[in-house]
Amino acid sequence: MHIGQQIAQYLLSGLSTGAIYALIGVGFAIIHNATGIINFAQGEFVMLGGMFTVFFLTVLNLPLLVSVILAIAAATIVGVAFERLAIRPMKNASPISLVIITIGGSILIRGIAMLVWGKDTHAIETFSGNEPIQLGEATILPQHLWIFAVTTVVIICSKLYFNYTISGKAMRACAYNSRAAGLVGIDVRRMVLFSFAISSAMGSMAGIIIAPLTMTSYDVGVMLGLKGFCAAIIGGMSSGLGTVFGGVILGILESLGAGIFSSGYKDAIAFIILLIILFIRPQGLFAKGDTERV
């Protein structure tokens, strides 16, 4: 009974961190599928989401909803600027150069954040109070519900976008064959820019909804970004359900591992899973082969 209760609790908290990883991972997958780039700076947009929200909330004293919207917009602008200034000029660059460029971008963004906001950890109030909700054996915070809701809505929107809008279909076309996409009149460079915009917006959302639970500081992006990448790898770089399952599996295993074995090694669990997946099934657990990537 007691063990059951604990495990239920681990599952629930794993599910909510998993949802965050999924959101970040989908951002990774969108850029990767549109450009072939792994954006090592992805985690920084997660950080920017949280930090911009803190800034608009506490420094400018804006209401929560306005702050959140402005924070997403601001992070998206940084993402777009990053693509224009650092990625677009790098035509025909090798994967190693692109890894280095995005790492450089990640360090730069983190550094500027540190200069602007300092090294302190900042808290954001939860969106709807701290009254725990009893859910069978376990309890859950309203913020967890926010996380589930936002992730679900974002994933559904992205699914709809990629499958039912001409712009989403055009992005899939670019991912599959950018030259043929150009020949039907799709502006490939605009699509790449757009993929950075979407993925930085998604990353910042993840950073915003998790901030009330974990606090935020200039350097939270590194770990969250890497975990998001693990989720995307497990999901076979899909921008849909594969990565969501990847994130959830990762979140639950981490939370169970931390609870049952040792919390210190919690972060190592994600990377051990990453290595195992890369060694055994580099195409991911849920990849259907090479035809459908987006």
Partner: protein, 247 residues
């Protein structure tokens, strides 16, 4: 309608097109013939701005189109059906066709006009209608060729660039494809620039032709005369054999 004057195109250090000049009049079907590597595909890609020429001019309706990106070329009404079809295999047949009209979706045009063109494509290629929900990658080679042509036609091009539409297809399917090309010209007045390995079939259908060798135009003229030309017969028509297929 299209006037290409003295273009030179390079692939890295390879001089692929040397002072090429060709022109097309409204409503013409013109074919480019020549061996592999003669520069036929490069001419199409130079027009489509996939491999922009280093020097020379390309005028479309008296407008200089050099320096425009591939998407702008499509917007002006020039569409290429690339070699090897290059359909978007993971997407459905209908998605592929819709993407052909990508710029029209982005423009001010109503959805109903696009919808109507989609139905026209299905009338032109009934097989595509049967398979409209299937992923394009599951189609046969001939069906993919039809899809690639349908995708290009969805942009309502005035000039259609066709690169090896018959490659690797069964004779019956080739006939079907060629029938559609003629139908396009007679019904829509579409101008066609056709690159073909099957020189005989291409010259039979075309009004005029250009013969290319190693990046240069070596012969040009009315298609029927080229068909009778001894040199052309020997080099590209394989007079002894029924037809010459280079691949």
């Amino acid at each position: 309608m299209l006037k290409i004057k003295n273009i030179n195109t390079f692939y890295g250090k390879v001089h692929a097109l040397k002072n090429i000049s060709i022109h097309l009049k409204q409503g013409e079907i013109v074919t480019l013939i020549g061996a592999n590597g003669a520069g036929k595909t490069t001419i199409l890609n130079s027009i489509s701005a996939v491999t922009p020429p280093a020097t020379g001019q390309i005028h479309f309706d008296d407008q200089d189109i050099a320096g425009l990106g591939p998407d702008r070329i499509v917007k002006l009404g020039i569409c290429q059906v690339p070699e090897g079809r290059q359909v978007f295999k993971p997407l459905s047949v209908e998605d592929n066709l819709e993407l052909g009209a990508y710029l029209r979706y982005r423009g001010r045009e109503g959805r109903s006009a696009i919808r109507k063109d989609l139905d026209d494509m299905y009338a032109l290629f009934p097989r595509l209608h049967e398979r409209r929900k299937q992923a394009a990658g599951t189609l046969s080679g001939g069906e993919q060729q039809m899809l690639a042509m349908g995708r290009a036609l969805m942009a309502r091009p005035r000039l259609l660039l066709l690169d090896e539409p018959s490659m690797g297809l069964a004779p019956l399917v080739v006939q079907e494809i060629f029938r559609v090309i003629e139908q396009l010209r007679s019904e829509r007045g579409t101008t066609v620039l056709l690159v073909e390995q099957n020189a005989k079939a291409a010259l039979k259908m075309a009004d005029r032709g250009y013969v290319l060798e190693t990046g240069k135009v070596v012969l040009e003229g009315v298609a029927s005369e080229l068909l009778e030309n001894k040199e052309v017969q020997r080099a590209y028509l394989g007079k002894d054999k029924k037809e010459i297929w280079e691949r």
